[in-house]
């Protein structure tokens, strides 16, 4: 395989260069016979200018504005290089095709070593990176363990605070019980005079009723109207007592 490579590499390079040369060589020299004419013309404001016409051998017709009697031929190309240029183009195409066919086998083989070297270098980089990460992980883990050891030593020396927390919880519970007893007593005292209107107006509707009463008060309604319209209560004493209770509660 290596002998094939050494034979084919210069052939491949040679064919490529030849194809490039042939293509650029086909650009030069004229393709077709042509004639150049100059014609003087008179413009719009009596200006005189000369117009150049290029007529090739393959043109189907004279260009627009060309007058054979007025135009004077001043240059001509009488030798063309059609065949040579087309042959050079064909040669360039052929050389590049054959070079591509050879190159399909040659290029991957020749660059095999460089590919292997690049893969090795990349692997080396990744290995060093992994090594650094591993060392950092080890360092952080060891730091955690050292901290835990120190913590254990401190706990043994000063003891845990669980006992103190339990005592604090008990005291908190005692206090909260005492407060609850006081509030229930107060609630029971308040409930007795409220019985008169509680049958008609339960405690749940206190807030909504108070909002409606406030709205009516701001719109300028009297107490009588509020009891009749907002509370829809027939008994004025019960309605009045309820309004007074709400005023005492919210104001």
């Amino acid at each position: 395989m290596e002998a094939k490579l050494t034979k084919q590499k210069p052939l491949f390079i040679g064919l490529s260069c030849l194809s490039v040369g042939c293509l650029i060589g086909s650009f030069a020299y004229p393709l077709q016979k042509l004639e150049l004419y100059r014609q003087t013309e008179r413009g719009q404001f009596d200006t005189i200018y000369t117009k150049t016409y290029l007529i090739t051998e393959n043109d189907l017709n004279y260009p627009y504005g060309f007058q054979k009697t007025k135009a004077r031929k001043f240059a001509q190309i009488h030798v063309d290089y059609k065949i040579q240029k087309i042959l050079l183009l064909a040669l360039a195409a052929g050389c590049s095709i054959s070079a591509l066919l050879i190159g399909n086998e040659t290029v991957p083989l020749s660059e095999l070593e460089s590919e292997i070297a690049s893969i090795k270098a990349q692997a080396k980089k990744e290995l060093t990176l992994k090594g650094i990460k591993h060392r950092f992980a080890l360092a952080s883990k060891s730091q955690q363990l050292l901290f835990l050891d120190e913590m254990k030593a401190l706990m043994d020396e000063f003891g845990s605070s669980e006992q103190e927390i339990l005592e604090a919880d008990e005291i908190n519970a005692l206090y909260s019980e005492a407060e609850a007893d006081e509030t229930t007593e107060e609630a029971q005292e308040e409930e007795q005079p409220e019985d008169s209107f509680r049958a008609q107006f339960p405690a749940q509707m206190d807030e909504t009723a108070w909002k409606a009463i406030l709205k009516a008060l701001t719109s300028g309604a009297t107490k009588h109207e509020i009891i009749k319209d907002v509370l829809t209560c027939s008994d004025l004493t019960i309605g009045g007592a309820y309004i007074d209770y709400l005023k005492g509660k919210y104001l």
Binding site: F27, A28, L34, L54, K82, L89, A93, S96, G103
Partner: protein, 119 residues
């Protein structure tokens, strides 16, 4: 290095085909416009579909450069004659085209709002 030569060979192959098409368009004038539109179509296809949609920039660049080389080489001798004998008209045409392209770009740029302008 050899990989680059391989790319060059592809380029030369496509460029020689394009140059041959240009010669054909000059020798047989009825083929001039069909070849021109085919070339433009391949160029547009090359840019929008191969480069943008498929993402194959390598092939797109090779095809685009090959078409450009083909146009350049196919009309090289004609360009030489025009530059030698008809320079005034060539210069005025180039100036007009450049002015038109520049004004179009400026208008498009203004319409798009000066790039991404944040107020």
């Amino acid at each position: 290095m050899l990989r680059h030569l391989k790319n060059t060979n592809e380029l030369i192959l496509y460029a020689s085909l394009s140059c041959g098409a240009a010669f054909l368009g000059r020798i047989l004038p009825p083929f001039y416009f069909p070849i021109l539109f085919l070339r433009l179509g391949i160029f547009i296809y090359c840019f929008f579909i191969i480069v943008k949609a498929e993402g194959n920039t390598e092939l797109g660049i090779i095809l685009g450069a090959a078409i450009f080389l083909g146009i350049l080489g196919g009309y090289w001798d004609l360009i030489e004659i025009h530059l030698r004998y008809n320079l005034a008209q060539v210069a005025s045409t180039i100036t007009a085209v450049l002015v038109f392209v520049a004004s179009t770009l400026v208008i498009l740029y203004q319409l798009r709002g000066n790039g991404s302008k944040t107020n």
